[in-house]
């Protein structure tokens, strides 16, 4: 028992595992900076703008496939997604099922044509393609404006997510705690930083400093190379967890049968009475297991949801929120935390799940248990919505479009689609299996579901007798969020420097000035995003959905018609982008009035993105048919055959 300090419970964390996480993280950061330095060496021998923003269109199979896969697998894939699997069970396989076709849809739908048109246009950014295709600086500026608007929201969310993940991973390390104490002292009296949580602030500084430095210094090639490394880290992490979890649960069949026996826990409140008063203030940790006895028999197990201070000379505490386990086998299996003094625990408030409460089999069937809403977690209509959203939402992301402009040749595209298919199959379906099995080996994680990934890694590695493995496993979520942030940061800076400044304000800018401006703007955008999340915004997940849905709604349909419909006009593309954006904003405004908070209105129960696409499509086609066609030579430049033209003129 840990009698040092003021903690009265036994501390069960494996210090070896967390130290390994710190060492792994350190090595990882060093390698990231090494790759940034290496890419800057390559860049010094090439033309700046094309190399910095597009890697000189030279991405091979590994680089293209893994940067594509890693950018799409954001922090949510390794923190939010495992939390959802753990909380709702096997139905998450249906929620994520679209990933079986995501590689071919997101990578193949527009890629070949986009790459060709970008080459013909000499474009290095998405707005630049639109500008050249329609011969209109105004079209490019509208695209840049929309892109910057939605991407900045996304950056905010990812900076917050990255910092939170880092705080979770390093939370129990002594060195980190000392640094947090130092930051807490330093931030006092500093107006901008005073209100931030010190551990979050420290992680935000480390995370944003690292990403801004290597992205600004290394450019697109550094982002791609680090993505490749991050993609490899992710698949290795998942592979190790998959093997360990099956080994430690006795196989998938045994684990699934155990999960089928589980009933969703209740949320509620408990009252703790001490049998004797303490002579000093003590702390009961968040996540402590306590048993509830009735006539000397164990009636239930509860887990505290927050850290609780117990003042000296106190016998009864105020009610504290807790998770109440309801599955009989788990109640008998879980060991209570050993405490310095005996306590009596009483359940005072009990709130069952609205869907699935007390029902065996809820975790192995659809729609899955849910705290809110009596229809369960995933209705069939929502499953269809997600099948559309993951595939086409991904295809409409400008960050993916940029990568599609950068691959080397058609064989690279073909091989990359196959590679991404295998890669996603090795990541997403195994994640569902891992975290369904995790219900068996790490019970009660509903108190803090976002911690299920590092906690499962710690337990698996610890039981396997190789705590250092936890370090490797937990690097995966950090790699995932970093690989997304760097790409989006570069998108925003390229939009401002290339599309706004060079193409519209100062076309004669020298390469040296462009370099200085690019480094400066990339750094400034990153710093602005970091400052904006010093006090993180509420409704973070909603912010991510708002920005990714908005980007896809604005760009997918107009870009597809731009590439495949010769009759598309300037008015059509602008109307399409604004129509998609307008529909998106309208559904959020309606959502605000209906729900009373920042949330989307699901018209007919479908994802907003589907209506965005409908809005963008109607506006694009209507705007094009209602306006004068583009000049023939401009259409021929992007739709005509070069060889034919040469033969005719020859």
């Amino acid at each position: 028992m840990d009698q040092s300090g003021n903690v009265i419970h036994l501390v069960t964390s494996a210090q070896g595992a967390t130290n390994a996480a710190l060492v792994t993280f350190g090595i990882y950061l060093l390698f990231v900076f090494f790759l940034a330095w290496l890419s800057s060496r390559v860049r010094s021998r090439k033309e700046f703008v094309s190399e910095y923003f597009l890697g000189s269109r030279g991405l091979g199979v590994w680089a293209f496939a893994l940067t594509f896969a890693a950018t799409n697998a954001s922090g949510g894939s390794f923190m939010g997604f495992p939390a959802l699997i753990y909380t709702h069970g096997w139905v998450l396989a249906l929620w994520i099922a679209s990933y079986m076709v995501v590689p071919v849809v997101t990578t193949g739908l527009l890629a070949k044509r986009l790459n060709q048109v970008a080459r013909r246009a000499g474009a290095v950014t998405v707005p630049e393609i639109l500008r050249e295709r329609f011969g209109s600086p105004g079209v490019g500026l509208v695209a840049t404006g929309l892109l910057t608007f939605f991407m900045f929201f996304y950056l905010l969310a990812q900076f917050k997510a990255g910092s939170s993940i880092l705080a979770t991973l390093l939370g129990e390390i002594a060195v980190f705690q000392s640094a947090v104490a130092w930051v807490a002292e330093w931030q006092q009296g500093v107006p901008l930083f005073e209100a931030a949580e010190p551990d979050y602030l420290l992680c935000l500084l480390v995370f944003s400093g690292t990403v801004i430095a290597y992205t600004a210094y290394g450019g697109f090639r550094a982002v791609v190379w680090t993505d490749v490394m991050q993609g490899i880290v992710m698949v290795i992490g998942v592979g190790i967890m998959f093997f360990l979890v099956l080994q430690q649960t006795g196989g998938l069949g045994k684990a699934t049968r155990s999960v089928a026996e589980m009933t969703p826990p209740d949320h509620g409140e408990i009252r703790i009475r001490l049998t004797e008063a303490l002579d000093r203030d003590v702390v009961l940790r968040k996540g402590a297991w306590l048993e509830v006895l009735e006539e000397g028999r164990r009636e239930s197990m509860v887990r505290t949801k927050r850290l609780t201070r117990i003042p000296a000379d106190t016998l009864e505490l105020e009610e504290i929120p807790a998770l109440i386990v309801t599955t009989p086998s788990e109640i008998q299996r879980i060991d209570p935390d050993p405490l310095a003094v005996p306590v009596q625990t009483e359940i005072t408030v009990r709130t069952p799940y609205e869907s699935g409460a007390g029902k065996k089999g809820a975790y192995v069937s659809a729609p899955g248990p849910s705290v809110e809403g009596d229809v369960g977690f995933l209705s069939l209509g929502m499953a269809l919505s997600f099948f559309v959203f993951w595939s086409f939402g991904g295809a409409g992301q400008p960050s993916n479009m940029v990568r599609q402009m950068a691959f080397k040749d058609a064989p690279t595209l073909r091989r990359s689609i196959m590679m991404v298919s295998v890669y996603y199959s090795l990541i997403y379906f195994p994640l569902v299996i891992i975290f369904c099995c995790a219900r068996v080996i790490v019970p009660g994680m509903e108190v803090d579901p976002d911690r299920v990934m590092p906690e499962t890694a710690r337990v698996l590695a610890s039981v396997a007798g190789a705590p250092w493995l936890a370090g490797l496993i937990v690097a995966a979520p950090f790699a995932a969020v970093m690989s997304s942030v760097d790409s989006f940061l570069l998108m925003v800076s390229s939009g401002l420097v290339r599309d706004v400044y060079q193409r519209n304000i100062n076309p004669g800018v020298s390469e040296r000035q462009m370099k200085i401006l690019t480094y400066g703007v990339t750094s400034l955008v990153g710093i602005a995003a970091a400052l904006a999340v010093l006090n993180p915004p509420q409704y973070l997940q909603n912010l991510i959905v708002f920005s990714t849905g908005g980007l896809a709604g604005c760009f997918l349909v107009p870009m597809a018609l731009t590439l495949f419909w010769p009759r598309m006009t300037r008015a059509g593309v602008v109307a399409g982008m604004l129509g998609g954006c307008g529909t998106h904003l309208l559904l959020y405004i309606l959502g605000y009035f209906v729900h009373g908070r920042f949330a989307v209105y699901s018209f007919l129960g479908l994802e907003a993105f589907i209506w965005d696409m409908v809005g963008a499509g109607i506006c694009s086609i209507g705007g094009s048919l209602g306006s004068r066609p583009l000049p023939v030579d401009l259409v021929c430049r992007f739709f005509g055959s070069v060889s034919d033209s040469r033969r005719n003129t020859g």
Binding site: L109, A260, S365, A410, P411, M418
Partner: protein
């Protein structure tokens, strides 16, 4: 950056454009087939009451295997066929088209 050569003949569509359009339609069909499989099979099998026990296939609930696992394997097979047998290697360089 090299200056791209603009084609000027309005009477013939570019080969890459035509093939890309074919590939786009095929991808939409592939998506439709697997969306139909997953949603229809889930509707039939996934929403059943499992309180009396769960049927397993390879250790996972049977509905997961038939509605997601099997089509996932099938999708990988179709994607490989699409990439190896349907997509065409064409030069994307405007100077060489």
């Amino acid at each position: 950056m090299s200056d791209p050569i603009p084609p000027t003949n309005p009477n013939r569509l570019d080969d890459v454009f035509v093939q890309s359009r074919r590939e786009l339609v095929s991808i939409l069909l592939i998506w439709l087939v697997f969306a139909g499989w997953v949603i229809a099979a889930s509707d039939l099998l996934a929403y059943d009451d499992a309180s009396e026990g769960v049927d397993l296939v390879f250790g996972m609930p049977a509905w997961v295997f038939w509605a997601i696992g099997l089509p996932w394997i099938g999708a990988n097979g179709v994607i490989f066929w699409f990439c190896l047998g349907f997509m065409k290697d064409q030069s994307l360089e405007s100077e060489e088209t």
